[in-house]
């Protein structure tokens, strides 16, 4: 009965995929729990934990919220409330490169608006979006403390001052 064989094959594949996925979730839970265990003795450990989780996974995975909540004796909603309050914490992974452009007043005085427009036009994204090829995420930032070398940006964690759109795009190979 070729039909059944094919179904069995698919069924096996499905089992394998599920096993693989639960292994990933399992692995993720273990890693999140380890971060919690390491930081739980701090006074007010939640922000440090969220930072570390994001460092480890590139974002705050949905499943991590429950693990953190359990460890800290909070509800999942409370942890989600905190994670979603702060601009830094991502629900989705960022692109390979992250461009943060300062949009605050000192940089505005030196043409930050035009810089932001040019980058958005070139990458075909708006603020807080990632390009279709998932290569570049563009984010606004309100002050990098580089107000005497405006306009300023941060590309993959490195600061640049008196910057042009060309220089930013060159750094991310676009």
């Amino acid at each position: 009965m070729p039909d059944t064989v094919q179904n069995k094959q698919e069924f096996d594949n499905m089992l394998e995929r599920e096993a693989c996925m639960s292994e990933t979730t399992e692995d993720q839970n273990v890693r999140v729990a380890a971060i919690c265990d390491r930081l739980i003795t701090l006074e007010g450990p939640l922000l440090p934990i969220l930072h570390e989780v994001q460092e480890e996974f590139g974002h705050i995975p949905d499943g991590a919220l429950q693990t953190i909540a359990k460890k800290l004796n909070l509800s999942r909603a409370e942890v989600h409330g905190v994670a979603s309050f702060y601009h830094d914490f991502r629900e989705e992974k960022a692109g390979k490169h992250v461009i943060k452009i300062c949009r605050a007043e000192a940089c505005q005085a030196m043409g930050a608006d035009a810089l932001g427009d040019e980058i958005r036009r070139h990458l075909k994204v708006d603020w807080s979006q990632t390009t279709a090829d998932h290569k570049i995420t563009l984010e606004p930032v309100f002050c990098l403390g580089l107000c005497a070398c405006a306009p300023a940006a941060m590309v993959d964690g490195k600061v640049v001052g008196r910057v042009s759109a060309d220089r930013i795009l060159e750094k991310v190979g676009s």
């Binding site: 007010g44 922000l47 702060y86 309100f142 107000c147």
Partner: protein, 518 residues
């Protein structure tokens, strides 16, 4: 002995290429067989000269700047390692007029020392204030700080000594010193500069605050946008701990104080002290209603001093040289020095520490040298995104808490952002409302809803929909936000909006009418 070459690690210098310059110098020196030690120091705060490279010579430290990697070969050819002549030569660092004319009390070692060398810090009178404080009672320390006239440098201007005394007298098994290093105001970078360039002075200031109030634990809450400041602070804390400056036995006195750095997560409102405390406790950074004061019920409900970085960094010099020495600087009720940060569209942007009292015009035109674009100055925003825009007509305003308040402005964290005549003040007013809407914690209605309505009103004004009515509405809305908001975010957003409206009424004419008139 190797020749010391200084290249700043300061984020501002690095943003202008200091890392590449430092490695280029090291490479070239090793190729040339020169015995050179590159020291990564803090910045002196003259950002138009950054990256500024200094060389230690028999006649003192001499500077070259702004240096790019393209200049390195020529600098070696000009024998800059012995202070040779070159077109970027600036003379002795200490003689550069912008630096020489300052009164550097808080920033006295910033740029001079290796930031994480405790030996350097001690060699420049570091820890003398702490040593003096260890010989005093808590009351005497508080009295010295009160007598110095030091007021909160974060913007509120509340007398530091009075705050400390409240915590000193509060009952509690555990008290805390929290340093508010959440420097989110555009145009300000003094906190970042001192944490990157002279971290031990903050550590010393926090220990003294602990001795004065009975607090044994300190936290520096700073921004995720300041990774270098975090790294330097953490390294300095380790060094201080290893040297017995922090820990259970401060300099062998038997007294205890320890501290750590906490990183925010990109929320501007966490610069407000109660939302900062919530954030540190692992909650959403929403503002708490006062009372209770943080001094009585602060971090984890315990008595807590929350002070700005610059307030705490001004304490060691007060304890070192005495309250009167500090108090002799300044004017009126604004005593001591203030690190003014000159930024935006300005020729000579940077940090200038001086006693209170310079006029805004002196700061912008003489120190700043006018705009970078060469166009006329139109407006200057003082005190960050919640500060007022000043027109040239108000350039005679002295830099002083009360004088600025009299003119419906504030000095805030002393950031001065210069705009040339291409700025559109209606757009700036809209941005102030938009920024408030983005960063509002959402707790109180005037801020949460008012800011959104504010942007809509400005949009209508721009479109020419019943302009007179919109201006009346905008005034009304600002009034509500000013008096109805829980904290300074909603309460001070009206400052930039109303000052733009009052001083630059021509910019608020409907755009459609302008076009029709042309």
């Amino acid at each position: 002995m190797s020749i010391k070459v200084y290249v700043p690690l300061d984020s501002g210098s690095v943003a202008l290429g200091a890392d590449d310059v430092a490695s280029a110098i090291a490479d070239k020196a090793s190729d040339a067989g020169a015995d050179v030690k590159v020291v990564r120091n803090g910045s002196f705060g003259m950002y138009w000269l950054e990256p500024m490279v200094e060389v230690e010579t028999p006649r003192g430290r001499v500077a070259y700047g702004p240096v790019s990697t393209d200049d390195i070969d020529a600098l070696f050819d000009a024998d800059f390692l012995t202070g040779g002549a070159h077109k970027l030569y600036l003379g002795r660092t200490q003689d550069i007029p912008f630096l020489k004319s300052q009164s550097r009390l808080t920033f006295q070692r910033c740029g001079i020392v290796d930031p994480v060398s405790l030996e350097d810090y001690r060699a420049n009178e570091g820890l003398t204030g702490l040593e003096n404080a260890l010989k005093m009672t808590d009351e005497e320390i508080v009295k010295a700080v009160t007598d110095s006239g030091l007021r909160g440098r974060g913007g509120a201007g509340f007398p530091t000594g009075i705050k400390w005394n409240t915590v000193r007298e509060a009952k509690g098994d555990q008290k805390y010193i929290v340093c508010n290093a959440d420097e989110g105001d555009s145009g300000t970078f003094a906190d970042r500069m001192i944490m990157e360039g002279e971290p031990f002075v903050l550590i010393e200031g926090m220990i003294i605050a602990g001795l004065a109030t009975g607090a044994t634990k300190g936290y520096v809450y700073t921004r995720s946008e300041y990774p270098t400041a975090i790294d330097v602070m953490n390294e300095a804390i380790e060094v201080a701990r290893a040297a017995g400056v922090l820990g259970d036995n401060i300099l062998g006195s038997g007294k205890a104080f320890d501290m750590e750095v906490r990183m925010g997560a990109g929320a501007y409102v966490c610069g407000e002290e109660t939302s900062l405390l919530n954030s540190m406790e692992g909650k959403r950074g929403v503002v708490r209603a006062k009372p209770p004061l943080p001094a009585l019920e602060g971090f984890l409900g315990r008595p807590t001093v929350v002070n700005n970085v610059i307030s705490l960094c001004s304490v060691p010099v007060i304890l070192e040289k005495g309250a009167e020495y500090y108090r002799d600087y300044g004017m009126g009720r604004s005593r001591g020095t203030i690190p003014i940060q000159i930024a935006g569209n300005v020729k000579h942007g940077g940090l200038y520490e001086v006693g209170f009292g310079l006029t805004l015009g002196e700061i912008v035109e003489q120190l700043g040298g006018g705009t970078a674009s060469g166009r006329p100055v139109k407006a200057v925003q003082v005190g960050g995104p919640l500060g007022a825009y000043f027109p040239k007509e108000l350039f005679d305003t002295p830099f002083d808490y009360e004088e600025f308040a009299k003119r419906d402005g504030l000095i805030g964290h002393a950031g001065v952002v210069v705009f040339d005549d291409t700025v559109d003040m209606m757009k700036q007013a809209r941005f102030a409302m938009e920024f408030c809407a983005i960063e509002s914690c959402g707790k109180c209605t005037p801020c949460r809803i008012g800011s959104v309505r504010g942007t809509e009103v400005v949009d209508k004004l721009e479109r020419g929909e019943e302009p007179e009515l919109q201006i009346e509405l905008l005034h009304d809305l600002c009034e509500t936000m000013k008096f109805g908001s829980l904290c300074a975010l909603g309460g001070f957003t009206p400052y930039p909006v109303l000052s733009a409206l009052t001083h630059f009424p021509d910019d608020f004419k409907p755009r459609a009418l302008d076009i029709a008139a042309e």
